[in-house]
Amino acid sequence: MKDQLKILIIDDNPADSTLLKRFLNKLPLWEMNIETASNGHEAYQRLLNFSADLIFIDYLLGSQNGIDVIRDFRAYGISLPMILLTGYGNEAVVVDALRAGASDYLSKNDLTPEAADRTIRHLIQKQTALEKLRKTESKLQKIIENTDTSLATLDENGFIIEANNAFLRLIGVKDENLVIGRHITDWNTDPTREVFSKALENCLREGVLNDFETSFIHPNANSITFALVNATTENESNGKLISLLLRNITDRKQYEEKLKSAKIKAEEADRLKSAFLANLSHEIRTPMNAILGFATILSDSTIPEEQKQECIYHINSSGRSLLNLIDDIIDVSKIVAQQVKVIKSTVYLNRLFDDLMLTFKAKNQNLHGNNVQLICSKVIADPEFIILADQYRLKQVLSNLIENAIKFTDKGFIEFGYKLKDSGNIEFYVKDTGIGISKDKQNLIFDWFRKIDDDISRLYRGSGIGLTISSSLVGLMGSEIKVKSELGVGSVFYFNLALEMPKSENQGTHSKMMAQPNTNLSWEGKNILIAEDEETNFKFLKAALSRMNTNVFWARNGIEAVDICRNQNIDLVLMDIKMPEMDGYQATRIIKTEFPKKPIIAQTAYAMAGEKEIILEAGCDAYLSKPIKISEMIQLVGKYLYLQSETK
């Protein structure tokens, strides 16, 4: 089957048209579909309905000439192949015709089928190739418009000539017209702008730019977009062009930033922890210095009695501050492990404040040479005024704050108390006329570890964890400690709690709960086993118990403890936990299996968070933490001896 070929002939002479039509129809390779027009205008109209593959145009068209028609058609965007037919004596116009856009020419005078055939075939092939190219180009254009990769072309001065949709999205502009003609660095901010400009200059020189990182500011959102830029240059007739290919790497950058800041945080935490440990070592050594130093002096038997008493006093007070430090560390461990719970009960608030007043008066007999007055301010006179709060923790926080105030106040007064606020809150406060805290340090004093990290100077005496503990505890109560302070004038630490009143039926239980167990029971003849590997500790406990006329047995490890329980009629066991051969947990388990009712009281120095649960789980009835207070031990032992005698 022959190929279809649609031809339009433009000739003002109908006879010539017919002649040409007949000639073309005779060409063997195609099946011709030929239309004719007598002038350019008519031909243009015809082309609206007739999709010609090829146009023949006679040079002489009456008032027009063929070259003008060709030029007009090309100007209208008609890209069809057009062949100019030249007559006798006007071959010279061929050059003009080709310049105007003619695809080829044929001379009417020697029009042979071979020449016509060759010319047509050549033009059709060329046209097909061109169309293919055009299709590919439009496909490419579509890809460029729709790809996620941002593309832009710049002139050699960096002004944008064209940009695709992805580029508009990248810089956050909706309309292409707002981009064309602008400088590429218009969306950079200052330090990156200069760097990017330099990189583009470099690119012009070298012809290429590889993986250059820059950032653009979105005009509205004020957010930053990070981009990785690759570019190449092309030489055009009117100068160089730069083709940019940009990839949005904002997500990756943000991820990197997050990683970086997490790393910095981790390192900071690590550093603070090391500093905390170094400081802890310092704070433990400080009271140890006094304890060991005065103990050495005390060992000299020739010193007078009065001096001995002084040494003992110093050893005692340093021992106590060491114990306070250890208690603080335990509190920190509990808070960090989130094991501190607020337990609300009825609190006789005025009694609590009286108690604080008594404690601090006794501790500080003459406060800085009586230059400092301690004032307790209770706005409600009723001694039975009660609120619902965590008595133990509330007292701990207030004690910490008062103690702190005492440390830093040389003259004036320290006032502590509470106020009722209109908001239904109760405000607790501790106010002093001490050295004060500068504004820049006021936030730091509550930070874990912060104080010691600050520098080697003392911001505060002591380990500095008292304030952070207090701040955490108040946080657990649902509030926040605040500070108002002025250097050289004084400070106020205060916090607000929601004022809660206990329900009336709970009121009576308070005194019952506080009731002492019956310890009037005679201890005479009771057999008490002390499981303890340290001889000093055993002697201490024995001395305390002997005063109660009890018989004391000694086991140096868990195995001996089990053994003695089997062979003696033991009424109660005081069980150390850390012992050689068999520890207290295991010994307790065995004894409780064989003698479920025998009371076992653990005595341990591991007062860390979680320890208590393990001890009770092993089967111990109660526990005492070391250093053991004699009164506490006597009370607890008495309680269990009494309970046991009742069950017997």
């Binding site: 170094a278 070592s281 310092h282 704070e283 433990i284 050594r285 400080t286 009271p287 140890m288 210095n289 006094a290 304890i291 060991l292 130093g293 005065f294 050495t296 002096i297 001096q307 040494c311 110093h314 007070s317 340093s318 520098d455 080697i456 100077s457 003392r458 911001l459 005496r461």
Partner: protein, 123 residues
């Protein structure tokens, strides 16, 4: 027994009890003792008194012992300064000696160590 009755020792120490301990230890030597409670006080006393030796605590309010030692050392090149501190780490010790202290003894203090450290400068 050492008799240092002609000597004046400045003790820079913010913890009362640790000052009392040093005073107790040094009492039999009859040395004259001066007490500074901050680094700042130590610097000012080193200017106003004729001092033979300083026992310098490091962690003190207002000005720490390192800064105080640096200032005193710059003004008096031959005044012995012995740091006495609860900082026990090597890096801290290096920092302290670099500030111009002649020696550094660590708390808890041993009486012999302290006395020997002082004796070196009093012979």
């Amino acid at each position: 027994m050492n008799n240092w009755s002609s000597k004046t020792i400045l003790i820079a120490e913010d913890e009362d009890i640790n000052y009392f301990l040093l005073a107790e230890i040094l009492e039999p030597t009859h040395a004259r003792l001066l007490w500074a409670k901050t680094g700042l006080q130590a610097v000012s006393m080193s200017r106003n008194y004729n001092i033979d030796l300083i026992l310098m605590d490091i962690k003190m309010p207002e000005m720490n012992g390192i800064d105080a030692a640096r200032i005193i050392r710059a003004e008096q090149s031959d005044l012995p300064i012995i740091a006495q501190t609860a900082y026990a780490m090597q890096s801290e010790r290096e920092l302290i000696l670099a500030s111009g202290c002649d020696d550094c003894i660590v708390k808890p203090l041993r009486i012999n160590t302290l006395m020997n450290a002082i004796k070196i400068f009093f012979q």
